[in-house]
Amino acid sequence: MEGTTIGGGAGRRGDDVRSDCWVAVELTDSGGLQLEVKSRVGTLYGPSITKGLEDTLRALGIENARVEVEDQGALPWVIQARLEAALSRAGAPHTTRSHLPPARVLPPPGGTPRDRLRRSRLYLPGNEPKFMLNAGLHGPDGVILDLEDSVHPDQKDAARFLVLHALRNVDFGGAERMVRINQGSLGLQDLDAVVPEGPEMILLPKVETADQVRTVHERILEIQERWGLHHPVWLMPILESALGVENAFASAAAAPTVAALTIGIEDYTADLGVVKTTDGSESLWARSRLVNAARAGGVQAIDSVYGDVADEEGLLAWGRRARAMGFQGMGCIHPRQIRIIHEAFAPSREELARALRIVAAFEEAQKKGLGVVSLGTKMIDRPVVLRARSLVERAREAGMIPQTDKDLPAGEGDGSPEGGEESR
């Protein structure tokens, strides 16, 4: 339920709301700050909520306002985000971030590696705080704070504040922090809000041309320059139409920060006017095309999502097929899908054992100065060695091999197929 009693309001209210709040603001000419706080956890946090509101208002130079809060156990940063959204809707000038308390969570220095493991990326609706807090506990390789399809058009501004504060305050564990922005100018405004908070990756929806990617890339560089930020913000264009798929290679090659391509099968099949099936035959060509274009552009190929959360077997089968096609990961719409996807994208025991043997044989050959690698009586071709080394690296990253094992010669720069391109 969303409504308003006074001035600008933001957030959610009602007895069924959890971990969120409603904040309404009316800017006044006199009377000082009048705060009215109703909270489910008022006995425990009433004074602290009131103080937080006063501190923010004063820091923003607001001396006179009426503020109403209906709190259902929102965390402090959620209250802050809702207050800022309400102030913005009430017409308060809001141009600086100096009022913000120091971030609880600092982005990892230098961002993430361009080719890091991206098996699973968990979608989190950008205007729904309750799913954000524990998302990292489920162990996804990435989380996507979504400002696009999961956010109602009327709530885009509120979601932006919430995502901004989530990036500052929520520990997503080891997950790469991605934001899916909106299309067009709305998406550029999204970038203005979130890029200063250092997300490691931006997902661009409904990409059809390389220009769309370049526009986003350039805007990010501008923002980074303004804020003195340097770490790479990777881009993952989402192809969601026939035209988008046709231009896959151009999009992959559109900017040096593109690190992956992915597809939105729901929109793609709608564009084609075909029905989406669980075996995905109607999108097979598009997905194959994407894999090839991604490889040609030197970026990762990432599959869409599997929509039926209850169907774990279907998800596993889909994931295994996707891996066989050349994808390196897929999206998750529920945390319970993460483990299954990791299983689907993991090499089998036999595959891994064979790769380890090949890598060992390669090292042995290197040591002896032999040009030819052989395993038993078989000669091993160079592409096979490269694939084995890549598989072993991925498996190590995924925790399938103890970190202390030394299967690979460290720092060998002789043509690992994907790595070492961070500064490209």
């Binding site: 971990s19 425990l44 946090y45 602290s48 937080g52 156990g73 965390l75 524990n134």
Partner: protein, 520 residues
């Protein structure tokens, strides 16, 4: 209310020495109190005073209460097997009100939201106070200091103990029965209002001065099985309906879809496996809460994978336990209460699905009980502190909102696991000191949260058993501090007065803690 003074008990909690006019023994520690004397007993009756044809029916409940000699100040008991669909508890108290009775003590085995109208009866002076679980609105009413007498909260086993030992005396027991014959034999396993077991009414039927069976499904003698024996029953009353079947049992019990709760449940199952508890012939108990049900599903897969079978499981039974039984993954279900249609059907038809009572399962003043034979039990809590003490009764704002149920009794399991979220809507579950102690840390072995598993340092055997596993074993303090960082620091302490409004009994009848009136 309390005229006695407060003394500090062995748990360090100030407790009243006098409750509703009765002298109390403060908690002395686990197993420290030595009871003496003989059990209570109802008056001796004679067959000559009962109809030789065995037909003990009277026209209505009012007639039955009149014949039992209802008068002001008496204690009336009821059971909670009909859960939120119960109509008989209220019917008994309202009939007593019509008859002009005042100052009654109500002794339910538990209360539900459907019992909220008892508040009106307390306002009218019909009910003086409640000794039983005080859930939701009744708990709030108590916390606000509005009840005239002091609330007494007992575990299921503690209620049996108190009735058996004569700590509390029932004048008239009113037992809702889904099936009964005119002699008073009764069961919960059959009939349109079937609820499975009737174990919570057993003590009432044995020790009350007068026993009335109320049924909406009268069958000719004999009513089989006779979970309640007619030889203990004075009168039988037929009514149109004893309860709302849709609220007695649920059609199907749904497992939680909350990813965080599923994560906790999965950790619990993995812990039970990694610690070596899951082995052939083991036993476990899990209730019908969301995490417990999901735990059963995860454990089931692990049992199948390992080819392991349980000797018995204790419920709270649901479809999920029934599936274990039917798939040969357990030899028996020892059932305390029956939560869904599948479980009701099973208990009525499968001899390996056995109805139990608090006497067999939980009574601490007996020659042993089943709870201590269970290898692992999975329970909840509203708060757990760094000493592993836990609270199931009050919330962090001090308000009484839940009964004890079988929780205290289950602590005697060989491995007691509390499965709790580390934080609920900004309210931390792991705290420095629990608001109310329902069970002391020496009996609580493992606390499983979505942010890690804390093992009681006393259980060096468990710590050793899971060493080298990839379970997230962490010190309780570390999880607690992490959560405090997230929620914006420790919460304010609850605002309480120094007036006790209820007491928490330990399983042996001693007073473990007080619930204080909240500031207005």
């Amino acid at each position: 209310m309390s005229d006695g003074k407060l003394v500090k008990n062995a748990a360090g909690r100030p407790v009243p020495t006098l409750v509703n006019g009765k002298e109390q023994v403060p908690y002395l520690g686990v197993g420290a109190y030595q009871p003496t004397g003989a059990k209570a007993a109802p008056p001796i009756r004679s067959c000559k005073d009962y109809p030789p044809d065995g037909d003990k029916r009277v026209p209505d409940l009012r007639t039955a209460l009149e014949k039992c000699g209802l008068r002001s100040g008496m204690t009336i008991s009821s059971h909670h097997h009909l859960r939120n669909g119960d109509k008989v508890g209220l019917l008994a108290l309202r009939t007593a009100a019509e008859m002009g009775a005042k100052d009654l003590m109500w002794l339910p085995s538990a209360s539900f939201p459907c019992h909220e109208p008892v508040i009106e009866l307390m306002e009218q002076g019909v009910v003086h106070h409640i000794e039983g679980s005080m859930n939701g609105p009744l708990g709030r009413y108590t916390s606000e200091g509005k009840m005239r007498g002091m609330g007494v909260l007992r575990s299921h086993g503690g209620r049996y103990q108190a009735i058996q030992d004569g700590d509390v005396h029932i004048d008239i027991a009113v037992i809702a029965a889904p099936s009964a014959d005119p002699f008073g034999n009764a069961n919960g396993s059959h009939g349109p209002s079937a609820c499975g077991s009737l174990g919570f009414a057993l003590a009432d039927s044995i020790y009350a001065d007068h026993v009335i069976v109320v049924t909406d499904n009268l069958v000719p003698f004999p009513c089989i099985p006779w979970q309640i024996q007619g030889n203990n029953v004075d009168y039988v009353v037929e009514v149109e309906s004893i309860g709302d079947p849709s609220k007695i049992v649920s059609g199907t019990t749904q497992i939680t879809r909350s990813p965080d709760r599923l994560l906790i449940a999965e950790y619990v199952a993995r812990f039970v496996r990694e610690a070596g508890i899951m082995r052939d012939g083991f036993s476990f108990q899990a209730g019908a809460g969301g995490i417990a049900l999901a735990f059963v599903q995860f454990l089931k897969e692990m049992m199948k994978e390992a080819g392991v079978k349980a000797r018995f499981v204790r419920g709270g039974s649901t479809q999920y336990l029934v599936d274990l039984l039917n798939e040969g993954l357990t030899d028996y279900i020892l059932d305390g209460q029956t939560f869904d249609l599948a479980a009701v059907a099973s208990i009525a038809s499968n001899p390996r699905h056995v109805a139990t009572s608090p006497f067999t399962s939980y009574n601490y003043h007996g020659k042993g009980n089943f709870a201590s034979l269970v290898d692992a039990v999975v329970l909840g809590a509203t708060e757990v502190d760094v000493g592993f003490n836990a609270n199931v009764n009050t919330h962090s704002d001090g308000i009484l909102l839940h009964g004890i149920g079988g929780w205290q009794n289950c602590l005697f399991s060989r491995c007691t696991i509390l499965a709790v979220p580390a934080v609920r809507d900004r309210v931390p579950v792991l705290v420095d000191e629990v608001t109310t102690i329902t069970g002391t840390g020496e009996l609580i072995d493992v606390v499983v949260t979505e942010r890690g598993i804390a093992i009681n340092p006393r259980r060096t055997d468990l710590l050793e058993a899971v060493k080298g596993s990839n379970l997230p074993i962490r010190p309780m303090e570390a999880i607690k501090e992490e959560v405090e960082g997230i929620i914006g620091g420790k919460p304010e302490p609850p605002r309480l007065t120094d007036r006790p409004v209820a007491v928490i009994k330990w399983v042996d009848g001693t007073v473990l803690d007080s619930v204080w009136q909240v500031e207005g």
